[in-house]
Assembly symmetry: C2
Homo-oligomer: 643 residues x 2
């Protein structure tokens, strides 16, 4: 096939980037080859429209123009993920959406306390031991490795020990460098004492007892990766860092990512992107405490099943397709070298166990840190996000489900939706007489869009002020010019263009409301099905434990008003923040806690909602504000009867 | 530092090879960078003179001109390993010595019989098992790995199983490709049944029972690498191949190789060279039986301690320096991926255990295949080579030592010495009246030099005909023009230049004889010390078992006549050929045999000769033909009294 020259012009680059590709190449692939970054939040499915570029010259074939208006197409706009090169082409790439950091972590850095009674010697799987060896001589020509093993046996009571080839290659030099005084870092399996101890590292001389022994706890969120750097001896968290998951550029939600990863080379790219995110966080955290990443000898990782699969390069395609099967729910312990983490290459990587395709290690770790699995009374644990994972239970039983709420609350599927970064409206109040809004913007600058908590707030206010009816229809007869018929049907103008960052009105349309209703209905229907399954009432839950960093910003009152959360006294709700990283941290410290997570994973009964007839019914009933059954929301009833 | 252009001209290349290097670069390193092969049999120590090149133009600095005559230097000759680039240089590289194959293996290919009573099911650590899994469904969403582990538990009684990340990454696709009918290849540790079984590979569908399950037995000799391809089910050897160890170009003996490996990057090069040798043999063997190297799932490797260290990238420097310490005598089982063998990356690589720096796995495997460790009566096992390793013992005790005989019997340190390849004189007879020699040449062509067995033969004939006296002096008064005063002292002309390949006389000089005497004296002194140590007489040995491929070509009578072998009835000598690969083969088949090798390694008492005062004494006594103590060689005495 003939090769065509494709050039990509960018405002921030003087000369265009060019590449030669054969006929039939996807424009997105050509861009990647040319080294030009084009975001594909939907994973290259042509759904999101964010990869639109303008073809200035030459021939391309559009597979799909979904998300492009006729006018866009006339102006040469094309979706990079849906357009095929058929000749020489000159393309203009508009500025890409920048991902800015919201330093959620720094706000919570002080909160972590070491678990009560943490005792390194009895809880930790990693040990650091000083050894004094007799130097070899003509009368004692024992080989280096046997000499070390004998010292381990006599001085550390390690009856069997093993080491990787990489460690064996270096012990000779270290023994001599330390003049036969060394510090061994060993990993034990306290659950199977017969298993050999693993020599993770050997250091010359006797390391000072006060030197930290580093480990990391990691939560790989679909949106955010969080890493805590921990001194395994004191148990103290010494640095907390967080950053967007680098996979976002190739898909906003897990489904888009699986689709992207299932393409040729996509899995490898996804794996590298999340490794890059973790490794740069590792470097950042280590820099803060002047540690070397190579000194980190253990990593405990939480994350949903897709995130863990993509991290480990496990095929994720069957997670997405019925009957929704993961490759591995309980990954074995692995060396960092195999995984690709830049800690000590022999450092142990422990990916926590998940339950099913959509109830992963973030939830098992979350249940642990919420204490639900040891509760005497019934409680509800939920992680509000793209997938609303919910667990209902107590110390005797645990049932769980996941509903694909979709990314509406993370800003996708809503025209002016955005992630919770600078410029996002995070809280809205509407005057019930004038219908004029007041709002709070993250960062305090001009607003750019509305994030999840802002959308909940907005929905609740519109409902309570009558701008929306029970079915979510925008009331066009409202006495305000902010309500109007827009391109996507009736809409409410939250901010006029003169007050926004880009000069365009920020609106919420009927279509947006509908997407948000679907999301909240899916989550609420999940609660209903779980409670039904075990024959308890939702009100029997003595606590509602909310995990996930999104959860932290929800206004309970408003979430109840739209029917996202069940109507209960507010003091039953507890916002726990990132329960996944907290669970990973506790598992990192204590092998018995780690075992408890395994038991949680095994104990949980997973209800597959797509196979459950009652779910659809519950979902349809929840597609109203707050619900078709008003009795379920007495506080909202009371509001209207008062009004 | 300024860069200089260095060009290397070769007769077989039209244009010279060029490279830019900074001041101070070794000519040998510049050649390597330019992609020009220059052999360094002594490992780059400037000892052997084989890396001599001619500087046609430009400036170099000679660190050493050892091995070059004043005339050579005048003509611009310089040792590539000892010369430093100090300006632009044009160099001529003479044709390099070609390494030709002596197909020793093909001669013995028919000899190997499967050990009596070999039973794959009870002896093998590798098992191949058919599994039939229930496909997943909405009612059974068990993850792929758990589903496989359950099948292993129920259908193969494997209570614990483990798999590497690489295997976990592929099981999902294979389970589906085989429509949930698969064949698992498992590795068990029969000695520790509690240890988990390791999933080496998973194949779609049920593999036909008659399909071979491949393993390889490898012996890494300092000179030759031997590989046997074995069907683990029938136990049959299906292909035998051998080739020179690619490390030869960087050192003829282990000491030279350690020196080379200890240089910057040298260890990595040595490792790659031997891996290349093994991997090309693997490919060759697999081609013969139309197998794919990826189907080979187990490798058992023998070799001396240096060879095993270099294969595994273990530092070998301390092997060479007092007190002569190996890094690892008992290497753990490793995955082929880690080692770098091109068999199935998860295939198990078992490097057999050694005893000490100079008594390695070739000897423990050799003792096993000789049966010495189970003998009722005392026997002597020896491997004649660069290092004369000797083991004396029976089923109750085993003592061993190694004497650095040096490479004289392999053709090095002898002016016209050469390896046993085409053109080597391998047997000599001298007429006691005319002193005219008759000889046999390998390959039948014109002679190029003399190999080890030829040298033993020549020495014995010269001694018996009076050309040499007891002290090894050439008798200049012998009535033949073949004896003359040469450049290196008195010498005997074995072949006149008109009859040789290169037109030069093939001679043996006084210096050569002295080197050979040192070699044979070292080996014989080893026997003496071992026997003394345990208080037995050498004659108490009921058998002398000779391993190593060199051993096969020794003429016992002549070896006794020069005092290399003890004077015993000829029927006590048994030539066993490559006992190391045979031992590796038996260990590959049977875990109990493998365990016996471990026991042999542990049972052997190693006598360090350099720490033994009696050795020097014994060595000096053996520096005569056949020995200072004529009583030790009654058959030689008898010859002279008859004569």
């Amino acid at each position: 096939m003939a090769d065509h020259k494709v050039s990509f012009a960018r405002e921030d680059a003087e000369a265009p980037f060019t590449v030669d590709v054969p006929t039939g190449t996807l424009l997105a692939d050509a861009a990647r080859q040319a080294g030009v970054e084009i975001g594909q939040p939907c994973g290259g499915q042509g759904r999101c429209g964010r990869c639109a570029v303008q073809v200035k010259q030459g021939t391309i074939r559009r597979r799909s123009t979904l998300r492009l208006s006729a006018e866009d197409v006339e102006q040469g706009y094309a979706l990079a993920c849906q357009s095929i090169v058929e000749g020489d082409v000159a393309v203009y790439v508009p500025p890409q959406e920048k991902i800015e950091r919201r330093l959620t972590t720094d706000r919570t850095a002080a909160e972590v306390t070491v678990p009560v009674g943490y005792d390194y010697a009895s809880s930790q799987t990693i040990r650091r031991i000083h050894l004094s060896l007799t130097p070899p001589s003509m009368d004692d020509q024992t080989d280096d490795w046997s000499r070390l093993q004998i010292a381990l046996r006599l001085q550390a009571k390690v009856s069997r020990s093993q080491a990787s080839l990489q460690v064996l290659q270096k012990i000779g030099a270290i023994l001599r460098q330390g003049e036969w005084q060394v510090t061994a870092i060993l990993e034990t399996n306290p659950q199977v004492p017969e298993d050999p101890d693993r020599l993770v590292d050997l250091l010359p001389g006797h390391v000072d007892e006060s030197t930290p022994l580093w480990g990391i706890a990691v939560d790989i969120g679909t949106t955010t990766v969080t890493l805590w750097l921990v001194d395994l001896i004191s148990g103290r968290v010494r640095a907390q860092v967080a950053e967007y998951n680098g996979q976002i550029a190739r898909g906003e939600d897990v489904i888009s990512r699986i689709i992207f990863a299932s393409k040729n080379g996509g899995g490898q790219e996804m794996r590298q992107r999340v490794l890059d995110s973790i490794n740069s966080l590792l470097e950042l955290a280590c820099k803060r405490v002047k540690a070397n990443p190579q000194e980190v000898v253990k990593a405990t990782v939480a994350g949903n099943s897709t995130m863990i699969h993509l991290l480990l390069g496990l095929p994720a395609a069957s997670i997405r397709l019925s009957p929704f099967i993961t490759a591995v729910n309980h990954p074995p312990l692995m060396a960092a070298r195999e995984v690709g983490l830049n800690i000590n290459p022999e450092g142990s990587v422990d990916c926590l166990p998940g339950v099913a395709s959509y109830v992963g290690a973030d939830i098992t770790a979350g249940v642990l840190s919420s204490g639900l699995d040891q509760a005497e009374q019934i409680m509800l644990f939920l992680d509000v996000g793209t997938n609303g994972e919910t667990v209902l239970g107590n110390r005797d039983w645990l049932v769980t489900c996941a509903c694909s709420a979709g990314p509406a609350f993370e800003g996708a599927g809503v025209v002016n939706g955005m992630r919770a970064t600078t410029g996002a409206i995070e809280e809205v109040w509407i005057n019930s007489d004038t219908f004029e809004p007041t709002f709070r913007v993250i960062g305090g600058s001009k607003p750019k869009g509305i994030c999840g908590s802002g959308l909940i707030s907005l929905l609740a206010e519109m409902f309570l002020t009558g701008l929306l009816d029970k079915a979510g229809n925008v009331n066009l007869s409202s006495k305000t010019d902010r309500v109007r018929e827009g391109e996507h049907g009736p809409e409410y103008v939250v901010v006029w263009g003169k007050d926004t960052e880009n000069g365009q009105d920020i609106v919420i349309s009927h279509v947006d409301v509908d997407n948000l209703l679907r999301a909240k209905a899916a989550i609420y229907a999940g609660f209903t099905v779980l409670a039904d399954q075990v024959g308890v009432a939702l009100e029997d839950a003595t606590k509602v434990l909310i995990g996930g960093s999104f959860g932290k910003y929800i206004n309970v009152e408003k979430a109840i008003q739209i029917g996202l959360l069940p109507d209960m006294p507010w003091d039953r709700f507890e916002f726990l923040g990132n329960t996944a990283v907290r669970g990973a941290y506790r598992a990192l410290l204590d092998w018995q806690t780690r075992d408890r997570i395994k038991q949680i994973a095994e104990r949980m009964t997973y209800i597959e909602l797509s196979a459950d007839n009652t779910f659809y019914e519950a979902f349809m009933s929840a597609m109203f504000l707050p619900h078709t059954d008003a009795n379920k929301f007495p506080s909202v009833e009371a509001f209207f009867s008062k009004a």
